[in-house]
Subunit: 321 residues, 6 copies
């Protein structure tokens, strides 16, 4: 039986399916009975759920978050859909069809990573080379880099989204750099590769996409700078001091890549390299958003619904080829 997706549930339906339980809390009613308040989620969204007649044992057995098989029923409560859970049992992760719970890119991530290494292989400056190698050889970081989404919602919000986004940006940069011989290609390539590296720590993407506490308090821009510093420190500990101008220039690209203060960049671009990374990032993110909006539109209209982040509807009609 196929998974019943959260966004397909209507009021008054019996439910018997596997969902992710998130933020469960054990509470007592005014009469003193225990119940569990929680969210049930999959890749399409989340719903409030209540399990009445719960016990501390049931509550303790739950992973937070974790996969659970539930029996229950959907209801309207104060005009909102919620799920009343009758029974709940923990399900082993190995039995899960993960793609029902977390969107994942359909691109071949290892192939993208190989191509990224090839493009970065064109870097000539020895210090930039060293620095990139320090990143590329950090297996744990690269594993995160291959799995992280590029954003919570706006674009590339899927497992592998970060590497897909970075890969396309590197190809764009590689294509157009010959047209701009005065722009320092090594800095642009390193800057593109590292501009969103802080996303590996900003977002949690094990079962659901969410900000980590550090991600929310510090943000991927400053976190990226910290990771860059850490790599330079670890090279320095090995006796390889990265040139200060290079550190400043790459750090500046990371800090300024949102292009405007109101988008969270504490510095405006002050080099041609920083401008280039800023616009390539914008281009790739906006084209993704527009494309997604067009593909997700379910009506037959020439226009998508209003896109809040773009302050417009998107025109869907295509010209003849």
């Amino acid at each position: 039986m196929p998974h019943k997706f959260i966004n397909e549930i209507e009021p008054g339906q019996p439910l018997s399916d596997i969902y992710i339980v998130k933020d469960p809390i054990l509470r007592s009613t005014t009469k003193g009975d225990l119940y569990i308040a929680m969210f049930l989620c999959d890749r399409t969204g989340q719903l409030n759920a209540r399990m009445w007649q719960a016990s501390e044992a049931i509550y303790k057995a739950l992973s937070k978050p974790g996969f659970v098989q539930i029996q229950g029923r959907s209801e309207l409560y104060q005009n909102n859909l919620q799920i009343v859970v009758n029974s709940v049992s923990v399900v082993d992760r190995s039995k899960i069809k993960m793609e029902d719970y977390l969107a994942r890119t359909d691109k071949d991530v290892e192939k993208l990573f190989t191509e990224i290494q090839e493009i970065l292989g064109k870097v000539k400056n020895s210090d930039v080379k060293l620095l990139l190698k320090e990143f590329l050889s950090d297996d744990e970081l690269m594993k995160s880099f291959k799995n992280a989404p590029a954003a919570m919602k706006l674009h590339h919000s899927c497992i592998g989204g970060l590497i897909v986004h970075t890969h396309t940006m590197l190809k764009v940069a590689d294509f157009i750099l010959p047209l701009y011989p005065k722009v320092q290609a090594d800095l642009v390539l390193a800057g593109v590769f590292l501009h969103d590296i802080g996303k590996t720590e900003e977002l949690d993407y094990d079962m659901v996409f969410s900000y980590t506490d550090t991600g929310q308090l510090i943000g991927h821009i400053a976190q990226g700078l910290l990771i860059l510093k850490q790599k330079a420190d670890s090279l320095a500990a090995k006796g390889k001091q990265i040139d200060k101008t290079i550190m400043d220039s790459i750090g500046h690209i990371i800090l300024s890549h949102h292009g405007q203060y109101e988008f969270g960049s504490p510095k405006l671009p002050a080099t041609a390299e920083a401008y280039m990374v800023n616009y390539i990032d914008d281009l790739d993110a906006k084209v993704w958003q527009v494309t997604e909006a067009i593909e997700n539109e379910t009506s037959d209209s020439n226009w998508t619904a209003w896109q809040k982040s773009l302050e417009t509807k998107i025109y869907r009609k295509r010209i003849e080829q």
Copy 2:
């Protein structure tokens, strides 16, 4: 003897050189004597000038604007440098070294135009093809397109600047379009080619760069849309009706290519193609501005002077190759 450039003149110098006279006015002093107030210009700037003991005959002989050989002297007047002109005589344009008066790109404009035609040759949609041909075969418009500057000041402000800017943008588009298969290449190529076509009418660039009255009142964005409509009308008159979706989509790219209302776009981008033209335009313009700022800096500092339009100084130090 080399031309004495306007920005090299110091107070108290005798002057005997050729300048462009601009906005001459015949006035009378309180005593009733006639004098001429005017500007003298070359590619480096302009200065106020006064010719006392003038006559209506002298005034009438002046082209407005035009080249003149002047004899005179530089002075401080109310703390501003001005030129007191003793004699003035009209100079034939054939005797002028034009590059002293108007900056001109050092690129081969005809070669750029050939390459532009080659890239536009990749367009597949028959209506877009027709439309582009209508533009490319308008010799007078193409002559303007090859000569116009891309902007008064900010970027590519030289004779030929518009075609240089458009050519680079087309190459960028041509390079990166294969990375974005869902973006309609024909519209992007046409949109890049036409996004600034209104500049041919917005700016005057015969002797000095200035806005035309229409340019200032209507602006190159709306002027570009009018030219597009005119070409479609002239095709329609020949029995070839351009598809409405194509007209809307290209018109929309022209209108939205500044990306934000406060930069004079009456519409925000609402298609992937419009976003792409917007960012490629920004990228090319900003890289030019940064590069120019670095090259024009005369100090040895690691930083240029403050760049008002970029809201920052520019960092000039380069990493080792």
Copy 3:
């Protein structure tokens, strides 16, 4: 039996009435049965509707949009009201009480048009006269001018709204121009008459109010300029070249009449005439909005509900006469 208005329908009611069907789509359920998803509308709003057990024949018979007699029932679905349609039959337009479906001004449109012609008859400049005559004698355009709404929602959003708005503005202009003898009356009168002429193409108002594709992509401001150009071209074709200063000045009024970039004007007012049209337009639109808000308020409070576009509630209490 009076028409049951969309905004009066409550859940669980049987329905037998005529509505406009909009955007119908034929779809199949997971079991393969065909159904039609559509909107049902009248002047008070629209609701989602579903006709289960539909057929391709039924779908094809529907005008899109068009008037239909439906039998059905209102329901709550995912907390939203929707209509389940049991049967649907096309209704001839001649049988419709149009005022139930499209709000229409209660002013005498032909009388307004006569008065507009009288006021425009005061224009003295021969070129402006010619231009206005070219507009006034374009019967099709004038028919649209008499029928178009002045806006989708904010003000004068009814059939005839554009001419009502323009008529009042012309009377205001006509009254106050004698107080400002240095302001060029001919340009103000022509500018007021034409400032929103692009609305005739921006909005669709045959059965429901909506933006046309061109309206959304190009906008009434740029469309107005195109229509102005078209009229001048057609005069030119008849050998009557309109003076360039006049074309620039009227075009500038159209482009700048929203007064600020963020309201979609690509040019800020740069003439007294443009300022005058801008403020008269604002005045008439805002007074309409305030008046409507006061009249539509159903509570007895001294204040209307929050008016999002005005960023305030409106005070309704009136002083004694």
Copy 4:
């Protein structure tokens, strides 16, 4: 001999003329000699001046500000023009041609005041009538109202400017109110009359235009509200309590008449009457600014210089009548 205006003085000229002395300070040099630093002003501007070899007696004799006959000479000091004063003597005000020192409207102020009273005579509500009478019969306030400028710089910055501005606005209101029968005419007329009444206290305009301390700290908007309250209090003391709705509505017009928070209005318009006063004010002020800019332009260009407060140049070319 005609007055030598401040803006006509060039460096190195002997001077013997009457100016206003402003902000004189008695100081001693490092050697202990006394000198007076001061400004010399007329209607065209002001210049720094120094009188060396001054004495306490000379200093004490000066009105602050006051008219003085000076003998001296113009000089450049640190690139700024200043005047070195050799002798100074107080001049009786009766000997002064005041129009050289303070710009004054050329309109007949008493006639304007009569017309204002006529228009206000149309008010029907008895409380509004009472309130207006309380203002009109306050001779001292009305004297200020007839003399105050309407602004320091932007518009109507001349003696009598406030009444000229208010008079035109009242005529506009009187003309257009019949077009808007739902707008409460009494409130609009009172609101226009009183919207800038605080200017009588915000600005000093006895010899030179400047802000009073209260004007700068409190501002004409809040000052206007205080004056309104004061009049109502004085009526209440006579047993005539003005209706609260009327007080709130007129107070609201005064507070909101700048239309936007960033222009110093602590409240946005929340009544049709407030919107009407706001736009009529804007219209009259902007038309004045544009007209002034055109008339003050000394070049023959089609465009004025850049107008900072309007964010544009102004187009000066007029069409044929």
Copy 5:
């Protein structure tokens, strides 16, 4: 039986409890039957209610607003919860547990007032002393000062909120003034005490919190200035003229204490004292908002829900002591 709070009511429940009735309106159905539309409120919110089969007598008996005992039932209507009232009877205020209907500070208001008087007792300037005494001895105003909330929603929105807020601010000022000896302590203390005095007139807080008409049209900032003027006038009437610089300085603090135009201050701070009051106000208000958000959060998350006015979620995790 404990009060059933408005925010605890679910659809389909029988209700028999005391609520505040607000804005009742007597209307007739299409059939001519009378019914009453009204709101029922307590401290947790309000709901729409309808009493069918009403009569003019029932309607007239209702206080507007007032306490009523109702019998009825909760229902969903157009997806919104509403209450159908079967019977209604007026309840005497003496029988009410007021804390169920209006939140009240749990601080000892009289003690706070004593401490406020002690701190204000440190003022040295005799005119400021006089002015403060005039306020402190106005028993009616001080009663309002002790009861008014400090804001409708954002912070200290409870009976007594204004005095709690003012008291804390005075203690902050008293603590830190010794660190800033150049700041005029008397003005800061008076400014803090009076900065929100207009709230006593801006808000209605007898049964429910709401803006008065004057509050909405004029606002507490301008109202505060009017009260200040009134006190000075009443002192002047007793022969005690308050120094103009003091009036200007305190008035300026009141006007500028929101710190920015867009927050409703018609003047930006122009004295050290105004800056100090502005920041102490912001500090106390924001710490309250953050603390409230943390305490009101019902989930176990490390983060509160999104706080619209702060443009962020709030981090709730505390460090170990």
Copy 6:
């Protein structure tokens, strides 16, 4: 002979004094002669200088920057004052009266540091204690902390400015924290101490105040976070892992202490502690700016000159004590 300050030099004076030479460049004239372009500075400003007839030897002898005794003369060149240098000789730093060249606080820095340590001694949380100790025991960093200015221009721009600013803020925090028992005092104290620690690396203040390259590209906000991380890393290396919540919370205070995106904070305050540091910082900085503006005003006016960063003039008149 006292030092002739840069801002006291007038055109046409002979000069023989010691200045700091900055950014010297060796250039050749069109004729091939060598000359040195440089700036001469002291605490009051800087002037362009030219030494004609220079040699490579002279150029090489100059420290860049360094103290030099010059002989020369002041001149006007293109309306700007510049210095023509005839001879230049390097001066040993030991002979310099440093206070002529760099403004220094007149507070006792060591005493301030002792008091800072006392206040920080109140911290209770053991991890925060450890972290602070790691900073306080870094002698080199603390030396910088005692010498750095707090800003280039706006406030506390003197040697020692950073510690003076931090010290006052700590005293304010220490005074008011008891009033806010729910705010975590340890985090506020640590946050205040560290909020501007990045200034030690952002600014160069050895001879003149200027931004370092890193300061301009990365900024003191991100630099502060890097220093915090570095200290935690060095503690971790000693086996003392600082709690993540503490690191996040203090890092967040550093990042958000400018309070708004447009002031360079990449995160808005999301804790009560962050808000408190933000407002105490603003308060101390703004009071300093206002006080400085008042004290530096040389006129006798009640108002200072326009303060660009405060968008107002400052009122200087004080009330009687």
